[in-house]
Amino acid sequence: MRELFSKKSSLLGLHVDLILLTSRIFFHMSSVLFWIFAVTMLIFGSLVVVLKNPVSSAMSLVVSFIALAAIFIMLDAFFIGIIQVLVYAGAVMVLFLFIIMLLNLREEKGRKFNIPAFVGGLGVTAFFVFFLVKLLSGFEAGKAPMPALGVENMNDAEMIGRTLFTNFTLPFQIVGVLILVATVGVVILSKRELK
C-alpha cells in the first residue's frame, strides 16, 4: 500500500494518472452529454404538446430541435446537425412564428374537453411506447457500443456532397422540381381569391 502510494505520488505516476482520469472523464462525458441533450429534447418536446400558448410551443420546439442537432453532432453527422439548426431551428420556426403572429392566435380557452378523444390519444401513445420498449429490449444487435471511426480526419461535408452528386443525382433534381412546385403552390394559395 505504501509502495503504491509513493509510486502514485511520484511526478510520472501523477501524470499518467491525470491522463487516465481525463480520458475516463471524457469517456463518461460523451454518455452524460448524450443523456443531457436527450432529456432536454424530450422535455421541451413534451412542452410543445402541453403548453397552451402557440408561441411558447414554437419556442420549445426550437430548443428541442437544437438539442437534437447536438445529438446529431455527437453521432459524427456534422453536416446534418448544421442543416438541422439552419433549416429547422432557423427557417422553419421563423415561418411558424410568423404565421402565429400573422393570425394573431391566442391561448385556447372556453372549449369543452373531449374526454374520449383524450383517453384514446393517450391510450394509443401508451400502446406505442409499451411495444417500443418491449421490442428494443429484445433487439440484441442494438446492444453493441458505438464502433470507432476507421479514419483520422473525417470530411463529413465532402463525403455527403460526393454521395449526393454521384449516387443521388436523380433524387436531388426531383427535389429541385418539388421545391419549384411548392413555391408556385404557395404563391397560388396565398392569392386573395381562390378561383
Binding site: S64, F65, D76, A77, F96, F118, F139, A141, G150
Partner: protein
C-alpha cells in the same frame, strides 16, 4: 456507454410525444409542429443507424442522404401547409380543428 438501443429509444419517445400531440391537441398549428417533431424523430433513428453501420470506417452516408431529403421535403411541406392554414383562416376565422368539418361525412 451509449448503444444503438438508447438512440432508438429516445427517437421512439420523441415520435410518441409528437404522436400524442397530433392526437390530443386541437390547434392546427400545434398539430403541425408535432408533425415536425415526428419527422425529426425519424431523422434521429436514421442518423443513428448510419453511424452504427460503418462502411470502410466511415458512417453509411446513404442514411444521411435520406435525412437530407427528408429535411428538404419537410421544409417545402411546412411552406405549403402554412399557406393552406392561412387560406383556411381567411375563410373560416379559426384554427381549431373541431370547427373545420365541412369535409366530414
Amino acid at each position: 456507454m451509449i448503444t444503438l438501443n438508447d438512440y432508438l429509444l429516445v427517437s421512439g419517445l420523441l415520435f410518441s410525444i409528437g404522436f400524442a400531440g397530433v392526437m390530443l391537441r386541437r390547434n392546427i398549428i400545434v398539430i403541425f409542429m408535432c408533425l415536425e417533431l415526428m419527422l425529426a424523430a425519424a431523422n434521429l433513428s436514421l442518423v443513428a443507424f448510419s453511424r452504427f453501420n460503418l462502411v470502410d470506417g466511415l458512417p453509411n452516408y446513404n442514411g444521411q442522404m435520406l435525412v437530407f431529403f427528408i429535411i428538404t421535403v419537410a421544409a417545402a411541406e411546412v411552406a405549403v401547409g402554412l399557406a393552406i392554414i392561412v387560406a383556411l383562416y381567411r375563410r373560416k376565422q379559426t384554427t381549431h380543428v373541431d370547427d373545420i368539418n365541412s369535409m366530414k361525412f
